[in-house]
Symmetry: D2
Subunit: 255 residues, 4 copies
Amino acid sequence: VHAVRIDLNADLGEGFGVWRLGDDERLLEVVTSANVACGFHAGDPATMARVCASAARRGVVIGAQVGYRDLAGFGRRFIDVPDAELQADLLYQLGALQAFARVAGSCVRYVKPHGALYTTAAVNAVQAGAIAAAVAGYDTTLPLLGQAGSELARAAEASGVPFVAEAFADRAYQPDGRLVPRSQAGALLTDPGVVVAQALDIVTAGRVGTVDGGAVAVAAESLCLHGDTPGAVDLALAVRAALEQAGVHIAPFTG
Amino acid sequence: VHAVRIDLNADLGEGFGVWRLGDDERLLEVVTSANVACGFHAGDPATMARVCASAARRGVVIGAQVGYRDLAGFGRRFIDVPDAELQADLLYQLGALQAFARVAGSCVRYVKPHGALYTTAAVNAVQAGAIAAAVAGYDTTLPLLGQAGSELARAAEASGVPFVAEAFADRAYQPDGRLVPRSQAGALLTDPGVVVAQALDIVTAGRVGTVDGGAVAVAAESLCLHGDTPGAVDLALAVRAALEQAGVHIAPFTG
Amino acid sequence: VHAVRIDLNADLGEGFGVWRLGDDERLLEVVTSANVACGFHAGDPATMARVCASAARRGVVIGAQVGYRDLAGFGRRFIDVPDAELQADLLYQLGALQAFARVAGSCVRYVKPHGALYTTAAVNAVQAGAIAAAVAGYDTTLPLLGQAGSELARAAEASGVPFVAEAFADRAYQPDGRLVPRSQAGALLTDPGVVVAQALDIVTAGRVGTVDGGAVAVAAESLCLHGDTPGAVDLALAVRAALEQAGVHIAPFTG
Amino acid sequence: VHAVRIDLNADLGEGFGVWRLGDDERLLEVVTSANVACGFHAGDPATMARVCASAARRGVVIGAQVGYRDLAGFGRRFIDVPDAELQADLLYQLGALQAFARVAGSCVRYVKPHGALYTTAAVNAVQAGAIAAAVAGYDTTLPLLGQAGSELARAAEASGVPFVAEAFADRAYQPDGRLVPRSQAGALLTDPGVVVAQALDIVTAGRVGTVDGGAVAVAAESLCLHGDTPGAVDLALAVRAALEQAGVHIAPFTG
């Protein structure tokens, strides 16, 4: 029989200069795909170099975590960037990361929007289209990582770019399969038992419990973990351990 | 017989956002190599995309004009950047430009430091070494463009990176072959006749007149032109016309 | 009888570092109120110092042209900045300009939002409120300059901050008194005769012609002029000359 | 008899956006003077607002911690900024902080250079002069805080600006009274007993032990503490407790 298989991705290299955010080294022991910040909302060049080198050494796949040009807001504020400028901003970040991946003996294997660009790309067809167009112009075989059913998924398909769906172990789901917005109470799951159970449900059963007590089908090739607090890394480790114990094969979605 | 041959390079894409500097399109009609600003001291992503597309369309070779992270000072202020950070800053810029060159159907063919990084790299072995190391780590066949006899030339040789020497038609030379510093009177040549004559001297005779009335040998594969004023572009055009009239073969140094 | 009176305001100091935009010195000969860019979307510190010194020397009133933190987009892109951060961003800019005004022997006498912040403040009550709150927290006697009937006008009133309405000589008006959006054809008036006539209409008759051939009442204490092109400065000069010839008293709205 | 008296100063508000550095709230319980970062090397506007409000509430004096425009390097890299630009950069930061201090019901009471600007100002007469000139142009009664015997001290005197000398409890001193450079081993004192003893020595005896086993006289109105790690805040608390136990009056130098 076919073993169940999942990729684990997380945001890395999200410090800037003297400032650190999360424990990149510990998180690299958990994930199979590293979304490396590319300098516009986080991630100075020296950090990018360090994270790429470490990821390559450990066999972790490198992806470009692209965002709005917004260090002050960590890319969490929607910016109404015109299409051509947004495409250029994303290409710039993708190319910059590619240099560090190359020097580390690896290469950028996927692209994932960050923060407000991620949430915008889920519902805004214009910005979703700009992201897909930027990637398609660079390399039509480079996958975009995001939410199933999003505008980004549609834009990727329209542009001929592979789309990889991810799910969340630590976010509450609505009956229609969308995430409960962060602004609502209960959006974030923090109880380790609940998070681990949701991860197992998603990966092994292809479904996730919803806030109304029901469940909804979810198809995901990757599970997004968080590591921006020490507790978060412990939780990510627990999720990985539980998946392995359940016989799940943890491996990069890039194959 | 062998025709004398020279490359013409100039700084391009040095605007930022709404701000423009120089006439990129007209200058692309003059040069064979475009030093494209990479975003740290000038050159926003959309400008980089536009200049790369135009350069590729015209067959102009694309080089990375790398500089200090200093938009406010246009990269003209020395910054004491630690070695590893400087290397990472340069790789970042190089990679970013590479993405635009690639999308334009071309690629980055050389690297040239800008402003204070250029003048520092001529005399500061540590920063010159960081530049050469960054390029060597990325691609040992990628040439550095700079001044003959500089620390950068030595660092390139030590790192196994090709070095291409350039000369200046519009700068006064000292008897030892170095440029008269910009801070001194007479450092910049502005008389069109003088500039054109110096260009011809350098390219066809391999020598340049010096401020003391003598002359010194100068070996250059590229001539650096300036285009940041309308008058400068006209002068660049005059230099090119005079060289062509003298039978010089104008072609990229990258061959 | 009472002479008709109007203030003339324009954006100044909108360069950044080596980049220039508009001719600040010539424009300072036309206006009575200078909207000086404060560094977030344009206006480096040395430029702010120079413009404040020149404005003070000429008796031109200094106002803070505040905007989003967006050098790459010149403040023309809407940014969804949370309320507290937007207030802090505006206070920061206001305070910075105050230092230069003080050293020039003057002080900041009003605040005017720039670009996307201006257009957002006209319709978005939250951001309009943040602007008014920032000003009110700093000095409740400091006026806000903007469009009559805007959310900003309402927010100013609610915060107890004076509001000064401006009108535009070179923008087309809709029958309801609002501007034709820049994205629509005919939004900008460029014919000098038309612009001068509209200025006279607004100032002397308190009304402005609309795109449907009608007219609408407009009450303005200030007329906004533009100076980012050489032609624009000439046009501004023509408007001022026509107003003076019509017996209008040109003076700062600050009295 | 006259009680011995000392000010305690520390760097605060050195985060940026989502990134934090040090525990501002705990440190504000220790110090009498807060060197608040002003946004060029650290310190976003919302952080400045928060720190000023908290400092004002606790009666801690607010000073402007000014630095080079260098978020990526935390202001720790020397930048060769031309005199007029450096003056403008400093005025900009000073004015920005002043707005937050004002809104908090306080005002900026002194200026202290940060990082590479601090160490440069100790030995570089040109940049020291620019700092003093910026402060003098703004308010000749505003003191500069720095090292005794530095170029900054001389520049302050020449500009008619008050100068306040500080000493360090956790830095090793050379026989001539200067600090052992950070690049040398043993430059930083980390043993709590040693740091507390040095603080007592400096404040109560006006002298400090030197690396050669001797001692040198040191006159300081303020003691600089550090708080960028949890351990550092504990140490700062221990220093304050020991000084209070020794009968020292802990109070702002501004009187």
